[in-house]
């Protein structure tokens, strides 16, 4: 492994990303818009659960953060399919950069964008929507980082088993939606059917929502999010292991069609 090569690919990926900043702006702005629309809806639900002074942002901000970060599953894979489409994948492989260098160079920027997206959402949650975090901000950032890592690892797993851009789009967008929904990011888990409540703990986003709710509503700190963080790290390791086992660098991926 060569940190220099990984760093060169990372810088390059950021350059590619910033060549069309509209995507980054979109993924940051859209959750804010969704929070504005859904805040009132969640306010009622939270008051019914006993949080009398809740204004809805306590659920809407983390929920939209988790829901939109789930879409990063598709973005993680996109960078690989795009290189196949541009004819640059074999060129990268033909350099002296190792497989690990290429993977790190491509995945880390995706994780960084997801972290930035979530941090901005939480940071703007106070001034824009009256979000009050009663617990630790460090715990929120830690949770954001492990969530982004776990979802990017899941994105790599999805990339490893898909061979066309259409498949990636389908799995990335629908799968991302399902991850968010079943994890309780669109509606509170307590309001979902029994079978959905039963499988929710098997979804990474559920643990992120548990952690965020604990910090925001219950004043939780580092100690109180140990379980969600550990579970998310576990998911990340599992997805990374499966992706590493299944990913074939020499496989052809079809960018269009």
């Amino acid at each position: 492994m060569s940190p220099r090569a990984s760093w060169a690919i990372m810088r390059h990926e950021f350059r590619v990303l910033l060549s069309d900043p509209s995507t980054v702006i979109f993924v940051v702005l859209m959750p804010l818009l969704m929070v504005a629309i859904m805040k009132e809806l969640f306010a009622t639900a939270l008051r019914d659960q006993g949080y009398a002074s809740a204004n809805g942002s306590e659920f809407a901000v983390p929920a939209m953060a988790v829901a939109f970060s789930a879409f990063s599953v598709g973005y993680a894979g996109f960078t690989f399919f795009r290189d196949h489409g541009w004819g640059t994948w074999d060129r990268l492989r033909a350099t002296s950069a190792s497989s690990v260098d290429i993977m790190l160079g491509k995945v880390v920027p995706n994780v960084a964008v997801t972290v930035l997206q979530l941090v901005l959402l939480f940071a703007l949650g106070g001034p824009l929507f009256g979000l009050e975090v009663t617990g630790s901000w460090f715990a929120i950032v830690l949770l954001i980082v492990v969530l982004a890592l776990a979802l990017s690892a899941f994105g790599m797993l999805v990339t490893s088993v898909t061979s066309t851009m259409n498949q990636l789009n389908a799995v990335g967008s629908v799968g991302g939606m399902a991850l968010a929904l079943l994890g309780g990011a669109w509606v509170p888990v307590e309001t979902m059917p029994g079978w959905a409540q039963a499988i929710a703990p098997g979804i990474p986003t559920y643990w992120a929502m548990e952690g965020f709710s604990d910090i925001i509503l219950e004043g939780g700190g580092m100690a109180s999010i140990l379980t969600p963080v550990a579970v998310l790290v576990g998911f990340g390791v599992l997805f990374t292991g499966l992706a590493a086992w299944r990913f074939r660098f020499e496989d052809t991926k079809v960018y269009f069609g």
Binding site: A8, S19, W86, R91, A94, T95, S96, E250
Partner: protein
């Protein structure tokens, strides 16, 4: 001169189809080898395996004495490759494209800056360095694509159909740069299916056919060893039966006589022809096409066209998989 590239007994199959069937090939320091063969002959497969992009079924590939199949990453540092399909990042600048691949092949920051200027000047793309690569013309993109392979002064340069789709100017620049790199001591394997292009290169030739190198040497040596002069006779109507003269049909109105002595052969044939039946006579000097015909019994242009049709019909050339 020791071989920079040494390939021995290389086999590769895609499912039931054998793409390479025991390829043996050496390329010496300072040598340009034109790897010649029709579409589907296995050129891209061979280049891909040498570059570490595909796995071989069996055989030996050494670059500078290092086992390229076992120590692929170590070897890749010494290889520059321009694949058949243009591969550049369209949304960043030409300079950033060149710099990325220079850096990934081990050049330091200062060397990257210097080489970007040198390679750009050699390929006449200096004015394009700060332009977005996706906004260039097809020929300009092809130059950038090829320039990437030259960035780190590789010991072994692999150019796979480098001039496909290139304009005359681009072709000239690429061929000049290939020559210069070889003069500096690098080995170059230049795959092409254009017979005519080989004469523009200061190259020896390796003819690849159906996954095997069937001839290797200088063009003149191959021509002298395998080909003789031919005479093509074209008729107004049906071709008379000239088999007793050793003529073979090329089409419904044309026959070819393979002969080392065209004048004598013509005199013999003309005596047998009905008057007014002959439309034209062409003396065909021996060339690589004649070498290919002599070695395989097949005409190169027909085999190549069939390869292109197959590639278009299948959606992918076997060799490009």
């Amino acid at each position: 001169m020791g071989a920079v590239l040494h390939v021995a007994g290389l086999w590769k199959s895609y499912e039931a189809q054998e793409a390479l069937r025991g390829v043996d090939l050496d390329v010496a320091r300072g040598e340009v080898v034109a790897l010649l063969g029709p579409n589907g002959a296995g050129k891209t497969t061979l280049v891909s395996i040498v570059a570490g992009l595909r796995k071989a079924d069996s055989g030996l590939v050494e670059v500078d004495g290092i086992d390229a199949l076992a120590r692929s990453r170590e070897v890749r540092r010494h290889i520059g490759i321009a694949p058949q399909e243009t591969g550049i990042y369209p949304v960043v600048s030409v300079r950033q494209n060149l710099a990325l691949f220079g850096e990934l092949n081990g050049l330091g920051r200062r060397d990257v800056r210097r080489r970007v200027e040198e390679v750009a000047e050699a390929l006449d793309i200096t004015d394009l360095l700060n332009r977005q690569a996706g906004k260039l013309s097809g020929g300009q993109k092809r130059r950038v694509h090829t320039a990437i392979a030259f960035m780190h002064r590789p010991r072994l340069l692999l150019l796979d159909e480098a001039t496909t789709g290139a304009d005359v100017e681009t072709r000239k620049h690429i061929l000049e740069l290939v020559q210069r790199l070889a003069e500096d001591g690098s080995a170059v394997l230049y795959s092409t299916h254009y017979l005519a292009e080989v004469s523009s290169l200061p190259a020896t030739v390796a003819i690849l056919d159906k996954g095997r190198v069937i001839a290797r040497g200088k063009t003149q040596e191959l021509v002298s060893a395998h080909a003789t002069t031919a005479v093509d006779l074209t008729f107004h109507g049906e071709v008379p039966d000239l088999r007793h003269h050793g003529a073979s049909r090329l089409g419904s109105h044309q026959v070819r006589l393979i002969t080392p002595d065209p004048a004598t052969a013509l005199l013999d044939v003309l005596a047998d022809l009905p008057s007014g039946s002959l439309s034209s006579i062409d003396i065909v000097r021996p060339d690589l096409e004649a070498v290919y015909l002599a070695l395989t019994g097949r005409r190169y242009d027909e085999v190549d066209a069939a390869g292109v049709r197959k590639a278009q019909g299948d959606g992918a050339d076997v060799a490009a998989r």
